[in-house]
């Protein structure tokens, strides 16, 4: 089965990269959590400014790939999310609302690690299978492997991989998150069985033959950073990354 990369994006403290919109620098002290809707999405989205950190990051990374996309088989496009801090930021806000005596339904409905998938699926009408891997290290690599599995097993024709850390700076000192990566970010990758004129060829090898050491989250983030940067600059990428027993080697090539 031939697989292709049909889109990619990244949002880090250094700015944004997008297969659709190119390099986007942050304006006026913008951060990954304060980007404006118009930087990432061309249509109206009145709730964008009020989105909780995980949902906003996931939606933004998805928009940088899917905004106005044509020829996507949305009925069979799934989302596989790797999330480092789950819904922790939103959990804290919800529990504060309980303490104030008014449990907030607006916060509560987003207090799930899967909440970002809901936001993206609803706005972009993606109806394929979804997986949410929630782990403070390794969830991005597992998400990538999980996405490939869905395609190889013919459960989807495209999968949007999102790897995020939806943590707000005011939460970073919370002792409940002491072992969690403190930087907010989002990476997106659209992998598909369907080729278009800008597709990059995608091949991979994965096996569960490694040792049991979970990947360090900074190493995992650096891997995704390099992946998206290489795709943006040359369209080529060839590097492996391990998580626990999972060994993944990915090759992406621009057709000459």
């Amino acid at each position: 089965m031939n697989l292709y990369i049909n889109g990619f994006s990244s949002i880090t403290k250094k700015g944004m990269l997008s297969s659709l919109k190119g390099k986007i620098d942050f304006l006026n002290n913008e951060t990954p959590l304060t980007i404006g809707r118009k930087s990432v999405y061309s249509k109206l989205h009145t709730g964008f400014g009020k989105l909780n950190p995980p949902d906003k990051l996931a939606f933004s990374a998805a928009s940088l790939i899917l905004d106005n996309i044509e020829n996507l088989d949305k009925e069979n496009t799934g989302i596989v999310l790797g999330t480092l801090s789950g819904s922790a930021s939103t959990d804290f806000r919800y529990i504060e609302s309980i303490k104030e005596g008014f449990p907030s339904p607006a916060y509560f409905q987003a207090t799930l690690p899967s909440s970002p998938v809901a936001e993206v699926a609803i706005l972009f009408k993606l109806k394929g299978p979804d997986r949410i891997f929630s782990s403070s290290n390794g969830s991005g690599i597992e998400a990538l492997n999980g996405a490939i599995r869905l395609l190889v097993l013919n459960k989807a024709t495209s999968v949007l991989v999102l790897f995020i850390n939806g943590i707000d700076s005011c939460d970073s000192s919370n002792p409940l998150l002491k072992e969690v990566n403190k930087e907010p970010f989002a990476f997106g990758l659209l992998i598909s069985t369907q080729k278009n004129e800008t597709s990059l060829n995608f091949t991979f090898q994965s096996s569960y033959g490694g040792n049991n050491k979970k990947v360090d989250s900074e190493v995992e983030v650096a891997y995704f950073n390099k992946l998206i940067n290489d795709l943006y600059s040359t369209g080529n990428f060839n590097t492996s990354c391990n998580n626990g027993k999972l060994i993944m080697n990915i090759q992406i090539k621009k057709e000459s």
Binding site: I95, S104, L112, S114, S139
Partner: protein, 371 residues
């Protein structure tokens, strides 16, 4: 010819009725664990553990562990999957209620830390660990993921665990959405249904890729989808759930005519039950097999419940008896699905298990008893 399939080799659960044997016995005796209790600031129907200490994840898995020997699986051929919507929130609540006290002994709110805690307790530290959180469909999605990993030769065994417990966090949250029944308790598919009743559970399943022998229960098919409609409400048409069911039928290489019974999601909310009936009628038309929701007896056990209900479905396939849909007196959905307040005979060897979760997540699993 080899018949390698994904077999449920062993399982253990903890529900408001106790272990698997006790749970199935009570379900088939038309009992309900739902009763009005004063918990977390509300005096409403709940389906709670006999002992509240089982809301601690270690206590819950310690009791299940007593009946299962897992040590032989502590190796690189095993994947350990933990499935939960929110899991054990006692650490999060403990920190916010008692901010000056140490949190070192409290379960972390980060789900994979809970996964690590359970894996350690079960002496499975040498396995590869994955944490899945697909809202209230987490357990079935974990089973589907395990099936994928086993069928693609990545592992020989999958230990799938699930846990979700009652807490002020979740109870107040569902109440803020006006989703809870305050008086009648869960009455899936009933015309007077007025909301769900919250429950809690823990579960462990050992899945192996193996030559399936007579009477083995195998995971025959699995499929999932997203409604792409609303954050908390299901699609009104049932199309998303129908798509998940069709995906699982394709995976199993069978048709809907082969299904002998349906274990519904059946939460007792107005919209879920109406949607689910539409999906089932779209599939089966006027030939719906016996169907039941367990939530009228066990409450809605959230993401962990999605695993536990599937394990109960495996056991009722052995018994060839579908439990009643407790609380049902008069069917209140438009479509003629075959739910009943009494037990129903299962005249075949395949059961369809359905789960759905916030954000439009739908899951369908088909179990087969090998004959």
């Amino acid at each position: 010819m080899s018949a390698l399939k994904v077999v449920i080799s062993d399982s253990g659960i903890l529900t408001p009725f106790g272990n698997l044997e006790s749970t199935v016995k009570n379900l088939l005796a038309c009992k309900s664990s739902i009763k009005k209790e004063n918990l977390f600031g509300l005096s409403i129907p709940f389906a709670s553990f006999e002992d509240p200490k089982y809301r601690n994840i270690s206590e819950a898995f310690s009791i299940i562990k007593k009946t299962m020997d897992l040590t032989e699986y502590n190796n690189s051929d095993t994947v350990f999957i933990y499935a939960a919507a929110k899991g054990d929130l006692s650490g999060l609540e403990g920190y916010y209620n008692y901010p000056n006290e140490s949190i070192d002994d409290l379960p972390s709110p980060i789900l994979d830390k809970q996964a690590e805690q359970v894996a350690t307790l079960l002496q499975l530290q040498n396995t590869h660990r994955i944490t899945i959180s697909n809202a209230c469909a987490s357990g079935q999605i974990a089973i589907e993921t395990a099936k994928e990993l086993l069928e693609t030769d990545q592992f020989k065994t999958a230990i799938v665990t699930g846990f979700d417990a009652l807490s002020k966090f979740t109870v107040s949250g569902f109440n803020s959405l006006s989703a809870l029944s305050h008086s009648l308790g869960a009455r899936p598919f009933d015309e007077s249904r007025d909301g769900l009743t919250m429950g809690e559970c823990a579960g462990i399943a050992i899945l192996k890729i193996d030559d399936a022998k007579e009477n083995d229960i195998v995971i025959m098919g699995a499929g999932s989808s997203n409604d792409a409609n609303h954050r908390t409400g299901p699609s009104r048409t049932g199309d998303g759930l129908l798509a998940a069911i069709k995906s699982s039928l394709r995976d199993a290489n069978i048709t809907e005519n082969d299904i002998a019974a349906v274990k519904c999601h059946g939460t007792s909310t107005n919209y879920n039950d109406a949607m689910e009936a539409k999906a089932l009628y779209s599939l089966f038309q006027d030939n719906c097999p016996p169907a039941a929701s367990l939530k009228g007896a066990l409450g809605h056990m959230s993401g962990g419940g999605s695993l536990v209900e599937t394990l109960i479905a495996a056991e009722i396939l052995h018994k060839r008896l579908l439990p009643p849909t407790m609380g049902l007196t008069k069917c209140g959905v438009e479509e003629p699905i075959k739910v009943s307040p009494e037990t129903q005979a299962i005249e075949g060897n395949k059961i369809l298990c359905l789960s759905a979760g916030f954000g439009g997540l739908n899951s369908s699993i088909i179990l087969e008893k090998v004959s």
